[in-house]
Amino acid sequence: MEKHSISVWFFIGTLLATYGVLILGSGIYGLFVPPDHTVAMSYLHIDIWWGSGMLLFGAVYVVRFRPKRKNL
């Protein structure tokens, strides 16, 4: 895969980190403004935990596999 300038892992990290921010943000927002439709086990606030995990995981991949600037 060396010839592709952007690694597939970088794409994955970017998407997961973005999703992590959205889900974490949604979870925190839900603490203050509870959604109309509550789900089972909502007291666990699983969205906050899940979003944080995805953000962390995605960020690691983004940093580890970010496109390298080529030497001229």
């Binding site: 895969m1 592709h4 597939v8 949604s26 839900g30 086990m41 969205d47 899940w50």
Partner: protein, 568 residues
Amino acid sequence: MTLACFLQAANARLSLSPVDLVIIVLYFALVLGLGVYLRRFTTTAEEFFMAGREMTMWIAGLSFISANLGSLEMMGYAAATYQYGILVAHAYWIGAIPAILFLALVMLPFYYICKTHSVPGYLKLRFGEGARSLSAISFAVMTILMSGINMYSMAIIMKVILGWNIHFSIWVSSLTVAIYVMAGGLLSAIFNEVLQFFLIWIGCLVVPVVGLIETGGWNGMVHRIQTNFPGQDFLHMWSTTGTFSGNPMGAHWTGILFGWGLAISFGYWTTDFLVVQRVMAAKDLRSAQLGTIIGAFFKMIVPLIVIVPGLLALAVLPYHLVPESQGGLPNAHTFNEALPLMLARYCGPGLLGLGVTALVAGFMSGMAGNVTAFTTVWTYDIYKPLIFKDASDAHYVSMGRWCSLLGVFVSIGTAYLVMNFSSIIVYAQVIFVFFIVPMFGTVILGMLWKRTTPAAGFWGLLAGILTSFALWLWVKLDPTALSYVAFSGYAKDMSENMYRAMWSLIANVVVTVAVSLVTKPKPDHELKGLVYGMTDLPSDGAFPIFQRPITWAAAVAVAFVALNILFW
């Protein structure tokens, strides 16, 4: 226009929040962007159809398993788990692991050394044009029919969770697949499959994690199932299979072991080009083998996101799901809705979008797998040898791109066939048994027995296909025939498939051996690189023990045995 329709349809249902929509739209945007980005790297036929044969073991392995993580894996098996219990996990263990390890250690070296582009391509080298054409045409038909399953499953998800129009759902996702596969071929499909692998796992893992917390762990879940369904055993894999009537599936251990574990499993995992194509695109043989073993490991733990949600549905849903045939009743939910209903139960704003994205990703990866395999087999094994032999490389690439689009359109037309069967997975296995199971007998005899002749390759394959079809038709026309085909009138659809697969394989092997004994084999020099004993197989002796495929295959095998004992 597509995006506008997408948003309009989504807003028709209150349960979707804006953040869910953003998550879903972002996914579609990235998938399309990847396809466009990768188009520049797929200008030759080798790059378009085989991804340049430069995949690392991790990419090949995750793509190998992701192509299989389509609608069958997620919705179909969760539905079947609600119907038959944990017995369905055999699809992941006895019905997969031995065959995947066999592919990695025994069959891949032959596929790889002869540098074929496809499994029918191997049959051409080993048996000639007749066996290749028969297998290629039957595979192409099967693949397109299987795509219909993905379409139907996805539309069900959209209907249940989002309230989307069934036709709208089919067209949006299938056109997305068509665009990215047309643009980047197998390379684009593989990249997207790796991305989809992560989404599927992260999106679906929410259900077992929160569900097991709700039930108070595994024991709590078992207790609830026993309370909800008294007198029925949904929780043992082998101990209830001594008789046909002792388990919800109506299965006997002989059918599971020889029908599912041997005929169906080895047929699918070792000769279905949909999955084999992914590891054939690896950069070298050892990467292909290790990638396959990585796939085996992840296959072994997929029950966590598919079987456990099915069991949790048995434990926590306040109503009972019904077969597809009763789905029209007021307030009735069908078996096929088990997984979507569990997602809707636990996932609030954001997580629901992620869960829906995971399911859509699963459908798209399964469909892209079918489309790329169909495209390669059509171009290399039907179009090139039978229709237009000496075209330029660019012509075949162009054919591949248009064929991707055609494959998607034909798939759309087959989606509605699925509705005639009680469970999605049953439909899939009917098709598998027709076409894939006999192919395994032909390929394995060709690889391991040099006496197998070209005529035997063709007639054995045809005998297997016809036997399977004839047995299926016999039971359809006369249901009492089930007692002969599956040894018991108690056998349910899945159990019948296991025995039909076994008969199909037996017919294939008997005819292949018989015809081989009375016809002329190929001379030895034509079998080099194709047959065991006539091929120089590379040794792993130079590598440290922890870098050898056999070591990791042994580790997976030990875990496989332990899991079967644990859930005996």
